[in-house]
C-alpha cells in the first residue's frame, strides 16, 4: 500500500528509493476511525495527536472523496502545518481491515455511531461481532484501545457484551475513560455526536484495552 500520497509530509525523503516499491514512510498509520463518515473525528483528532498518522475508513465512495477534500482544504488553510497526519480511504473494513495493517500496527481504533442494524437477521452485519473482534485484536497492539460510542443503548450493550466476552479485550475503567482526551473529542466532534446533542439524545461510550496474547 502506497501511503505517500495520503501523508506527503510524512514521506521519508532520506530513505533510498527502490524502483518497484512505494516511497518509504517515516511512520505507519497508528490510529484508525472505522466508518469515519464525514470526518468530524479525524479533523478533531488530528491537532490533538499531531505526531500520529490517523486514517479514516469509509465505505461510501462519495463520502470518502468529500473527507479527503475536506482534509486537503484544512491543510491548505492551516498556517502551522496541521492536518498533515489525517487521511481517509474507501474501504470495506469488515472484509479488508487486515489487508491494510500489519499485526499490532495500531494503537487506537475508533468505532463511532456504527449502523445499529436493528433487525436480528442483520446482526451479523454489525461492525462489532464475536468473530470480527479477533481481527481488531490482530491489528491492535497489546495495550491499544478500541473506542466505541453509540446513541443506541441496545447496540451499546451488544458491543460491550461482545468485546467483554472476547479473551483479547478488557473494559477500560470509567475514570480512565473520563480522563481520555480522545473520548471528549469523540463525544463532541463527530457529526453524529452533534446531531444527538441537538436531539438531546443519549450517548453511550465504552473503551476496551487489547490484552497481551497468552503464551503457548
Amino acid at each position: 500500500m502506497d501511503w505517500s500520497s495520503y501523508y506527503p509530509a510524512f514521506v521519508d525523503e532520506e530513505a533510498p528509493r527502490e524502483e518497484s516499491k512505494p516511497p518509504r514512510m517515516k511512520q505507519d498509520v497508528e490510529v484508525v476511525d472505522i466508518g469515519c463518515g464525514f470526518g468530524g473525528l479525524l479533523v478533531g483528532l488530528a491537532p490533538v495527536l499531531p505526531d500520529k498518522l490517523i486514517l479514516g475508513l469509509e465505505i461510501r465512495t462519495t463520502v470518502t472523496q468529500f473527507v479527503q477534500e475536506r482534509i486537503w482544504a484544512l491543510r491548505a488553510q492551516s498556517s502551522n502545518k496541521l492536518y498533515q497526519n489525517a487521511a481517509c480511504i474507501r474501504a470495506n473494513t469488515m472484509k479488508f481491515l487486515p489487508n491494510f495493517f500489519k499485526k499490532s500496527q495500531l494503537s487506537k481504533i475508533f468505532i463511532c455511531f456504527p449502523d445499529p442494524h436493528f433487525k436480528t437477521k442483520k446482526h451479523k452485519a454489525r461492525i462489532v461481532s464475536t468473530t470480527l473482534n479477533s481481527e481488531y485484536a490482530y491489528a491492535l497492539r497489546p495495550g491499544g484501545i478500541i473506542y466505541t460510542i453509540t446513541d443506541v443503548e441496545a447496540l451499546h450493550e451488544w458491543m460491550v457484551e461482545h468485546l467483554n466476552a472476547h479473551p483479547s479485550f478488557e473494559r477500560v475503567s470509567k475514570e480512565e475513560e473520563e480522563s481520555d482526551e480522545c473520548v471528549r473529542i469523540m463525544l463532541s466532534e463527530t457529526e453524529e455526536g452533534k446531531k444527538v446533542e441537538r436531539n438531546k439524545g443519549y450517548k453511550f461510550v465504552a473503551l476496551f484495552r487489547r490484552l497481551e496474547d497468552p503464551p503457548w
Binding site: A91, N92, F96, A154
Partner: protein
C-alpha cells in the same frame, strides 16, 4: 445420465466414494464393493419424482383432452392448474409442499399472470396470483442430497461426511474393513463448506457464513464439555425482546422504519424467537469467523504448535492458533486476487502451504511467516490441453510422496473444474514447483484420493509408487467409468499413469437414478461460481482494490459488502 461419484477418500486399503447422497466403500486391493450408506433423503427424492412423473402423465393426458395442441408443448401441465389446483390434493400431499417453486416455471408465468389481471389490483393481488400459479400441484422435489465432503480420522476408525442441502455433519464408525455404522447426525447453523478433524478428536468445520465451529467427534454420553469449549467465543445471545432504540435515536430513515416495524411486531417476534431459540442440542463451539464465505480449511503444526488455516471467497488466507486460543490471529497470507478454494499442506513439508482458487496461479507459502514463496501458472497448463480456457477454478489440491532412491519426493496434484486432467508438480527443496505434469482423463475430475506408496519410510527404492483414485464425470460418448484408479509412474520427474484399474460397481451403477446433465452441473460444479462478478466503477460498493500491507506487496479486490 447418472450422477457420477463426486467425492473420494482413501483410508488404508478402503476407498470411501460418495455418489450424490450415498457413500459406497470399496476395497483397494481387489476393487470389490463392500458396503453402501444412503442419505434418508435419497428415497424421498425418488418417491416425489415418481409422484410427479405420474401426475405429469395424468396432467398431460388431461391437457391433451381439452386444450389445443400448442398448449401442451411447453410446460403443459402447469398452465391449467389455476382452476383445478384444489381438485388434486393427493399429489401435493405426497411430495413435500413448498410455496416456492423452481425459478423457471414461475418466472415463465409471472408476466402472464400480471398481464391477465394485473391491471385492476395492485401489489397484493398480483403477488397472490403469482404465488397461486407458482404453487404447482407438482410440488417441489426435495433437495437432492449430495455428500460434499468426506474425511476420516488418522486412525481410520471414524468417517465424517457433510451433506450440504440439510447442513448436516454425519459421523460414522468404521470397522477398518469398509463397514460403516452411523453414530451421529448434527445439523449445523449454516451450510458447512470445509471440514477437518483435529488430533484431539474435534471436528473443525467452516460454513458459508464464514464461521468456524468445533464439535466433538464423539458426543460424550455424560454431556461433558470438551476442551474446545475453552476456546469458544460467545454466540450472539438471544435475549427477550426490547426496543433497540429510543425515539431520540439519530439514524437513517431505513433504520427508523425498521425500528417501528420491530416495535409493531414485538409480540410476534418474541413468540417466534421462543419457538426458534431451541438452538443446537449438541456442543457447538464457535472458534473464529470470516466476513465472507469460508472456502477451505486445513490444520497446520509447527514446532509443536498447532494452527487453523482458513481461506475465504475474499482472497484471504488466515492463520489462527488452534484450540484453545483460536481467537488469536497469527497472520494472513496475502497474494490471491480471486477467491481461494483449496489449500493443502504436505505432511513431508509441514511449513509449506499450497493454495489455489480462481487465480491463474497455484501459490506456495511460508504460512507461519505469511510469506509467499513461489507461484506457478496452472492456467497455462490447462491451456495445453484446452487452449480456449480463459479462467481456471481449482477444485482440488492434493499432496503425495513419490518414492525415490534419494528419499521420497513431494508432489502436488491439482484439478480444475471442467478441465479433463490432473496437473502435478514436484515441490522441491527450495519450495518451488517444478516438473509440471499433465495426466489426461476421460472426463471432468470431481475429486481425487491418494493411496500412498507402500514402505515409503524403510525401503525407498523398492517401494511401489502411490495410486490415485479419481472420481470423474465421464463424457457422455466415452462410456468411461466414473471411478478410476491408476498407479503412478515417473517420467523425467513428471508424474504419469502406469497401470489403470477399476472398481466393481456395476450394481451401484445400476441402482442410480437418471438425472439431467443440468441437474448434475447444478449439484456438482460449484467452484467457478465463487468468482465475483465485476461491479461497475460507480457502484457504491466499489471495485477499488485495497493494496496489501508492507510485507507482502499483495493486492486484493474488494467488491464491497454486496454479498448478503
Amino acid at each position: 445420465m447418472k450422477i457420477p461419484y463426486n467425492r473420494v477418500h482413501v483410508q488404508g486399503q478402503i476407498l470411501f466414494a460418495a455418489r450424490g447422497g450415498a457413500i459406497h466403500t470399496f476395497s483397494l486391493t481387489d476393487g470389490s464393493h463392500i458396503s453402501s450408506w444412503k442419505h434418508p433423503d435419497v428415497d424421498k427424492v425418488a418417491q416425489s419424482i415418481q409422484a410427479i412423473n405420474e401426475a405429469k402423465a395424468e396432467a398431460a393426458a388431461a391437457a391433451e383432452a381439452d386444450t389445443p395442441a400448442t398448449e401442451s408443448e411447453g410446460p403443459p401441465a402447469k398452465r391449467q392448474k389455476l382452476e383445478d389446483d384444489s381438485e388434486n390434493p393427493s399429489v401435493s400431499a405426497q411430495a413435500e409442499v413448498e410455496a416456492s417453486t423452481p425459478a423457471t416455471p414461475q418466472s415463465a408465468e409471472k408476466p402472464q399472470a400480471g398481464h391477465v389481471d394485473g391491471r385492476g389490483k395492485k401489489g397484493k393481488g398480483k403477488g397472490k396470483e403469482v404465488v397461486d400459479s407458482g404453487k404447482s400441484r407438482f410440488a417441489r422435489v426435495p433437495d437432492r442430497p449430495v455428500v460434499t465432503h468426506l474425511t476420516s480420522t488418522s486412525d481410520g476408525k471414524h468417517l465424517v461426511a457433510i451433506t450440504g442441502h440439510d447442513k448436516v455433519i454425519w459421523v460414522f464408525e468404521h470397522d477398518g474393513k469398509g463397514q460403516l455404522k452411523q453414530l451421529s447426525k448434527r445439523t449445523m447453523p449454516k451450510r458447512p463448506s470445509a471440514v477437518a478433524i483435529g488430533p484431539d478428536n474435534q471436528i473443525i468445520s467452516g460454513d458459508k457464513f464464514g464461521d468456524v465451529y468445533a464439535i466433538p467427534l464423539i458426543i460424550p454420553e455424560d454431556g461433558s464439555k470438551s476442551a474446545a469449549s475453552l476456546s469458544s467465543l460467545p454466540l450472539p445471545s438471544k435475549k427477550a425482546f426490547k426496543p433497540t432504540a429510543t425515539p431520540l435515536t439519530v439514524h437513517s430513515k431505513g433504520n427508523r422504519l425498521a425500528l417501528l416495524n420491530q416495535i409493531k411486531q414485538a409480540e410476534l417476534a418474541a413468540e417466534a424467537q421462543a419457538a426458534n431459540s431451541a438452538g443446537p442440542d449438541f456442543e457447538l463451539n464457535l472458534l473464529l469467523g470470516h466476513v465472507s464465505m469460508l472456502t477451505a480449511l486445513v490444520l497446520g503444526e509447527q514446532q509443536g504448535r498447532r494452527y487453523i488455516l482458513t481461506a475465504d471467497r475474499d482472497e484471504h488466507i488466515r492463520v489462527s492458533r488452534y484450540i484453545p486460543h483460536a481467537h488469536i490471529i497469527e497472520n494472513f497470507c496475502f497474494g490471491h486476487k480471486e477467491f481461494v478454494s483449496e489449500m493443502a499442506i504436505a505432511p513431508s513439508k509441514p511449513d509449506v502451504l499450497i493454495s489455489g482458487g480462481g487465480d491463474e496461479d497455484i501459490f506456495v507459502w511460508d504460512w507461519v511467516a505469511g510469506k509467499q514463496l513461489y507461484k506457478s501458472s496452472i492456467l497455462s497448463l490447462a491451456r495445453e490441453i484446452a487452449p480456449e480456457t480463459a479462467t481456471v477454478a481449482v477444485s482440488g489440491l492434493y499432496t503425495l510422496l513419490y518414492p525415490s532412491a534419494d528419499g521420497p519426493l513431494t508432489y502436488i496434484l491439482a484439478i480444475c473444474e471442467d478441465i479433463k486432467a490432473i496437473f502435478s508438480w514436484k515441490l522441491n527443496d527450495s519450495n518451488e514447483l517444478h516438473c509440471p505434469g499433465i495426466i489426461q482423463l476421460p472426463g471432468k475430475p470431481l475429486s481425487l484420493a491418494i493411496s500412498p506408496s507402500t514402505n515409503v519410510d524403510d525401503d525407498h527404492s523398492n517401494a511401489a509408487p502411490p495410486t490415485v483414485i479419481a472420481a470423474i464425470d465421464p463424457d457422455a460418448d466415452t462410456k468411461a467409468q466414473s471411478l478410476h484408479a491408476f498407479r503412478l509412474t515417473m517420467n523425467n520427474g513428471r508424474l504419469a499413469v502406469d497401470v489403470e484399474s477399476s472398481f466393481k460397481d456395476k450394481e451401484v451403477e445400476a441402482n442410480e437414478p437418471e438425472l439431467t446433465e443440468e441437474d448434475i452441473r447444478g449439484l456438482l460444479y460449484t467452484v467457478e461460481s465463487l468468482r465475483k462478478v465485476v461491479t461497475g466503477p460507480d457502484d457504491e460498493a466499489g471495485s477499488e482494490a485495497p493494496h496489501g500491507n508492507a510485507e507482502s506487496d499483495a493486492t486484493a479486490d474488494g467488491t464491497g459488502d454486496g454479498e448478503e
